[in-house]
């Protein structure tokens, strides 16, 4: 079919009935609007908001209301680690002593910090290496560590490395951060650890407390 153009007007086209009135092509839907929020979903929305608020704030209230299992340290108290070393704890940390070795254990939620007073090696780097070789590796069935970082602070020189791995007698993978510091002639090893994924949330508190370690003569 090859019609080139629309055909010329028919003679009586002008006499045709009037065309329909104009319509506006892009006219938006004429929806009746009522001021304010849609009442149909208000109640459900408030219910959702209430559940979220209860979950978020209610859990905090419940947590604060529950007594700790062990001794909760009063925030700001300096706790003896051993060897004259002390650490100042933050709110919510629970302290217990190690059964078979010197030092203390601090716990908050699922995060644990084991603190040991040691003098092995004579410096922070050697102490950290000794802890890795003599404590972590023998108990691990699988272990990976990061490189050792060195930091110098007010309390002396500290070294730090992270690890993750599987340990005998523990069902779940563990991650940890080991910090070794020498203040004067006293060394302290701090092993902050938890199940994989849980350490990061409290690492700020962990490191803040570690910076508070001091040795009193």
């Amino acid at each position: 079919m090859a019609q080139a153009t629309p055909q010329p007007p028919a003679p009586d086209a002008a006499a045709a009935p009037a065309p329909p009135p104009a319509v506006a092509l892009p006219a938006p839907a004429a929806v009746a609007r009522r001021p304010g929020l849609d009442p149909a979903t208000l109640r459900q929305t408030f219910l959702v908001a209430a559940v979220l608020a209860a979950l978020f704030f209610g859990t905090q209230v419940l947590n604060e209301a529950l007594p700790a299992v062990a001794t909760t340290v009063t925030p700001g108290d300096a706790i003896d680690i051993g060897g004259g070393a002390r650490i100042t704890t933050l709110d919510g940390w629970v302290v217990t002593t190690h059964e078979n070795s010197a030092g203390i254990r601090l716990e908050k939620g699922v995060v644990v910090i084991d603190l040991y007073p040691e003098t092995v090696g004579g410096n922070a780097g050697a102490l950290a290496q000794a802890y890795l070789d003599e404590v972590l590796k023998p108990g691990a069935t699988q272990l990976t560590t990061t490189e050792v970082e060195v930091a110098t602070g007010d309390n002396g020189t500290a070294v730090r490395f992270n690890y993750q791995g599987l340990f005998e007698g523990v069902e779940v993978p563990i991650e940890g951060e080991v910090t070794a510091v020498f203040i004067g002639k006293q060394g302290i090893v701090a092993d902050a650890w938890s199940r994989q994924g849980d350490l990061a949330s409290l690492l700020g508190e962990v490191n803040a407390m570690l910076e508070s370690i001091e040795v009193v003569s």
């Binding site: 079919m1 019609q3 080139a4 153009t5 629309p6 055909q7 010329p8 007007p9 028919a10 009586d12 086209a13 045709a16 009935p17 065309p19 329909p20 009135p21 104009a22 319509v23 506006a24 006219a27 839907a29 929020l37 849609d38 979903t41 459900q44 929305t45 408030f46 959702v48 908001a49 559940v51 979220l52 979950l55 978020f56 859990t59 947590n63 529950l66 007594p67 700790a68 299992v69 716990e107 908050k108 939620g109 699922v110 644990v112 069935t141 990061t146 490189e147 992270n162 993750q164 523990v170 069902e171 779940v172 991650e175 951060e177 199940r195 994989q196 994924g197 990061a200 949330s201 690492l203």
Partner: protein
């Protein structure tokens, strides 16, 4: 053929009232779609406020990761995209008939990635301490993730699907929609959580650029755990919500039971995944196959459950489409064979290939448009919008036009079919009406105020769109204009 011969479409009444809202011809967006931006809905403001609050924490966290190792962060994004894009396309593809509005899909993703992860992370921490206080640190370390994560995270994600529903209730048409929005919330959650894990578990706290660790994380989180991730979990709970809100044909108690069971299934799947059960089978140094087997034992039963439910939902939609299009099948707008192909992507593709083999690429293209138009017709059949009839008319005319163009394409013959890539002829003119003997005036727009072009009697025209008493028509030379639809004479070709 007489002027009174009926079209297989509903013609407008002569005394049509004020014109209904018009969707220009083309039907690119098949049906009325509700945007995420709904200032009248309180749920929209709840969503916006939470996004703003939690977004600050999200950005801060991402900046921390990027500052720790920009390379690792960027590589992490690429690795996550390798997972996110196929999952997004798969979820969207499963929703065969009524694609969800993109803004709502993005809203679901944002809830999962930003709001749910932020809230769940903080609530999880609190519960971690509570469980430790109640049951001791040893128990908390071993079972905390299994007990806390499923309860908290599934609830926060589920509430995201509820919020999306409250923002755009009309978009929840069937159980499958709950899966789509739930899966997208879960996908967002997975992406943010995986980036967190990449940095806290595999790259290192100090942010060392350990790309080897990153790839190890990709293997464990995406390759091993990807199929059983939050996409699966929230897909299940989202289907429960959709079941409850879209099945008024079922007694409320049964709907509620189904919703609760699906929610419990999502929580149970999460519990099994997080629990230390079966960790013994990993041994000291599990290889890739052991990891994959371990994950499959934990997650595959729930993935199969989800697949079965999605399949049932798709079949239900297929049945609905068959029912909805029954009159259109009788009218010849959709052939029974075409109807069978509409609900199955593979069959749709096979049908297009069959046409392409006979009529070339142009035939393939026209067949694809015809399939889309037929699906769009089914969606519009269910519409309750005030312009439903006008849109149905336009959709039917589009189908007639496409079929006419398709029929007019010449067969390629054996040589063309084997060549595979013959250039298709231009779209053919398929007249549907003709100008009455006395001629007819036409206009560039459906407005008689302007100067019109007169069309001579007997001129054949193809109807493109029908709006009120106006018809948009095309002539054989490609000219297009608007005429008084009441005066057009139908030129009906009996359907094949």
């Amino acid at each position: 053929m007489t002027a009174a011969a009926p079209l297989p479409v509903s013609a407008p009444t002569p005394a049509a009232p004020a014109p209904a809202p018009v969707r220009p011809a083309g039907l690119g967006d098949w049906t009325e779609q509700v945007s995420l931006i709904q200032p009248k809905q309180a749920s929209f403001w709840l969503f916006s406020a939470l996004l703003l609050i939690c977004g600050v924490g999200f950005i801060d966290e991402q900046l921390t990761f990027a500052n720790a190792s920009t390379t690792a962060w960027l590589v992490g994004l690429v690795l996550l995209a390798l997972y996110a894009v196929p999952v997004y396309l798969l979820v969207n593809t499963l929703d065969l008939f009524e694609r969800e509005p993109r803004s709502l899909l993005i809203g679901a993703l944002l809830w999962g990635a930003i709001i749910a992860t932020f809230l769940a992370g903080r609530i999880n921490d609190q519960w971690g301490e509570i469980v430790q206080k109640l049951f001791g640190a040893e128990f908390a370390r071993e079972w905390g993730a299994a007990l806390i994560g499923p309860g908290v995270e599934e609830l926060v994600k589920f509430l995201g699907v509820v919020v999306i529903y409250l923002i755009a209730r009309s978009e929840f048409d069937d159980v499958l929609d709950g899966f789509v929005y739930g899966a997208l919330v879960g996908l967002g959650f997975t992406l943010e959580e995986d980036m967190y894990y990449f940095f806290t578990h595999f790259v290192g706290q100090a942010g060392a650029s350990d790309l080897g660790g990153l790839f190890e994380g990709f293997f464990l989180r995406i390759i091993v755990g990807g199929p059983y991730s939050h996409v699966l979990l929230t897909g299940l709970t989202g289907m429960g919500l959709a079941w409850y809100v879209t099945r008024p044909d079922i007694p409320k108690s049964r709907r509620l039971l189904a919703a609760v069971l699906l929610y419990v299934a999502g929580v149970a799947a999460h519990f099994v995944w997080n629990s230390p059960l079966l960790n013994d089978m990993l041994g000291n140094d599990p290889d890739a196959a052991t990891w994959i087997l371990w994950a499959a034992i934990k997650g595959l039963p729930f993935l199969i459950l989800l697949a079965v439910l999605v399949r049932v939902a798709i079949r239900r939609e297929q049945g609905w489409v068959r029912e909805t299009l029954a009159d259109d099948v009788a009218a010849g707008l959709v052939t029974p064979a075409e109807l069978e192909t509409l609900g199955d992507l593979r069959r749709r593709r096979d049908a297009r290939r069959a046409v392409a083999a006979r009529k070339g690429i142009e035939g393939d293209r026209l067949m694809a448009r015809l399939q889309h138009a037929q699906v769009a017709l089914a969606v519009m059949e269910s519409s309750t919008a005030p312009d439903r009839e006008a849109r149905l008319t336009a959709a039917r005319e589009l189908i007639l036009g496409l079929r006419g163009q398709l029929d007019a394409l010449p067969d390629l013959g054996a040589a063309g079919a084997t060549a595979g890539l013959p250039p298709g002829p231009p779209a053919a003119f398929a007249p549907t009406h003709r100008v009455p003997a006395e001629g007819l005036a036409s206009w560039a727009l459906p407005n008689p105020a302007g100067t019109g072009t007169a069309l001579s009697g007997g001129l054949e025209l193809q109807l493109v769109a029908w709006v009120g008493d106006w018809a948009q028509v095309r002539a054989s030379n490609g000219w297009m204009g608007w005429v008084d639809a009441r005066r057009l004479i139908a030129r009906v070709t009996p359907p094949n």
